[in-house]
Symmetry: D2
Subunit: 242 residues, 4 copies
């Protein structure tokens, strides 16, 4: 019963007991509580109809399918984690570990793809110099051009991955991040603002190995209005965290 | 001159020009603006005097030195990035790429160590059941015990890395993350709440390969008051982001 | 002088001195001997004219350029390593470390691409059941079909990387390896026998996300005569190592 | 029946059929042949009694246990792979993929540890200048000192991993390799000759963060007679491969 393990005001020893308690439950009782573990989540996807003509229809359709595949994998992993055997967890060969590693892989893949689709393909792409976006990029890179140059350099540096402008809570500034695949090289506390996919599946159909042209083309159609909304939200969060 | 590249209200073609502009600057002009790139940041470290008796003094002193080494490396990288050649950036052999990859490595290493030291070694560790922490862990794992079991399983799964309870902005929930080394396997938009170092340097001196005992010991001295502050800050951020 | 540090027959103390000697050389002398370090190597590439019609000409031309890019990067790294500052080597931010990591990336990329091009695109692909290849695959997987099924499963498991059948000197058997990118997940002492590129750049132009069809197609044109030569060479090496 | 899919001398179409055949087997038949897949292997470990006094008894005992843990994990993975569902293999969430990734992790961990224990702890460590080892290191690095300096730099660069001198079949030379963890950054066709563990578990108990002293100490007790045997074997293999 919950009341029996009231924690407020207990002595150190009692806290220790609380922690020990869950670890010494007889096997059978643990089984019984397994359905409570993790509380599986479910993500759903949107159908994106990108109007850009700089990517072929085949490419766009395949990319939408990739997103859906990642979301499906993530939901399967979430469900599997719900009942995965945590007692057998270890760094070398455990189902639980593999699921957790793949959870992050598919979590990033799903949400980065969604954010990417949402911030490209704006045929009337404009960024006002008095926007918060422009001010923040100028503040943290010295100039909009400097941000741009840094962002492009990151895009061209990624090993089949992503370039992302994030707000980093630790550094209290915006920064560009080079991601390999979906989950190598990510700073904690990084909230994505501008996202461009640099996996070969993004550009090989239409640009072959010319990633530079692909990146430039995507940047010319960045949906700055969406980016501005993201930055406004982040700035509210920063303000509230003070 | 700034006025000449006013972006507000321009047509698509003009925006394209803005983006092209920075990419077609003559080499010499680029050099001239290099000092503006990145606006190097500097991080500083605190001296932690952990009162826990569960770790040896030698271990604690060495760990403090590790933290300082990471912060020093991060500052050196930040400075080097400020003037690194972005024109030569590529995925296979570029100084810029290597610096960015190592920036993330040392950024996470520095801040995770700080957060770790700040949330352990509380000899009077107590968590009230009416704390926000308890409520949120219960909400997202079904019970405090379930969080605890999941957290421990993650701690034991990491390949020389970290276990971190984070708030994930994408999933709108708290989750546990298994990190290998300092930067493999991190979900974007993850704000750390509970942090335990699982590199062998954390425990090998005092516990040899018995990571389980080390993790249990650290958990019994978690500084829940600090964790509560972190959660309160995150909850304010969540509220503000709506 | 060389004679003075004759090693044969010396006592333990003298050996220790030999090792210490090189580490206590004054900075200036070290500089003087730097040109001796590493003895830079140079690799060269072949122009492959694949006759397969299952890949587009654009794809094949771009792939050849990728190979040449990797070889060029490798040679640049080899030259840079020749004089890289080894005294500053450390795990967190050192030019030497970055060069070594990228050396392996480009070394594998270069040689795997060459081996891949050399073992595909055989329009008259045939494998005799009395070939050494067939016998070895049958021995180590139970049947040729079982190897095939395992190989395909590995090809479909790779995260933008490679599937490679290798002879592993440790296990004294052939095995299939799943590689992510160019250098994650490779067993030491593994000599490649069958190589298929599973980076998206191999198939996205022609097969979009249908990696399965691409892999099947490549397998139908495997150049078994080349694979047989590789296996014969490996078997001679095994015999000689006894 | 085997006779019906005789491969020798068949036309291209028939080969295609062979490959298709195994992929279109009805589900049930596949199940029936599953026991043939992979032919699980089993590795066994040796008990090492290192006489070195430069490592504590606790450290040595724990290290032996680590080796045994890796070998056990490898055998479990080998058995699991034997019947793992290859039809469900995919890059994002598949049991098969996870097993293959962990197979390499534990395979390297097992054999590198064995090779490490076998080439250290020689209290009478001597290397003759007319040994093959000395000649080869001198040939490929310019001098024994240059090899030594390069090897130490690699040891200090690894992120919790290994430094290994290997013979690389591609480059036809010996080279030093920096490995992170057990399986990041390994060139194919690399046969280990000199192996030193640089995971923190190797030295933290006895040297805390002073990896340099640990590495120097291990190098002073290298068992050159074992290394010479390895090089002689490799040289016979090289000769046979011509």
């Amino acid at each position: 019963m919950k009341d029996q393990r009231k924690i407020a005001g207990v002595s150190e020893e009692e806290i220790i007991n609380v922690i020990r308690e869950s670890l010494t439950l007889p096997k059978k009782e643990k089984q019984a509580t397994k359905e409570l573990v993790n509380e599986a989540y479910v993500v759903s996807t949107t159908k994106y109809n990108l109007s850009t003509e700089k990517l072929s229809e085949e490419n766009k359709a395949a990319h939408q399918e990739l997103l859906e595949g990642y979301a499906k994998a993530l939901n399967e992993i979430s469900a599997a984690l719900d009942t995965a055997d945590r007692d057998a967890a270890n760094p070398n060969n455990s189902v639980f570990r593999s699921l957790k590693i793949d959870e992050t892989h598919n979590l990033n893949a799903t949400f980065l793809h969604a954010m990417f689709f949402e911030n490209i393909s704006d045929l009337r792409s404009t960024l006002s110099m008095d926007s918060l976006t422009h001010m923040r990029l100028e503040r943290d890179w010295g100039s909009f051009d400097a941000w741009q140059r840094d962002f492009i350099a990151c895009a061209l540096s990624s090993r089949n991955g992503w370039v992302v402008t994030v707000y980093n809570v630790f550094l209290k500034r915006y920064m560009n991040v080079v991601v390999d695949l979906h989950s190598s090289g990510i700073p904690f506390s990084s909230i994505p603002i501008v996202v461009i996919d640099c996996w070969e599946h993004s550009y090989y159909r239409d640009y072959l190995k010319d990633r530079r042209s692909y990146v430039f083309t995507m940047m010319k159609e960045l949906k700055w209005s969406t980016i501005e909304e993201r930055i406004r939200k982040v700035e509210r969060m920063i303000e509230a965290s003070k």
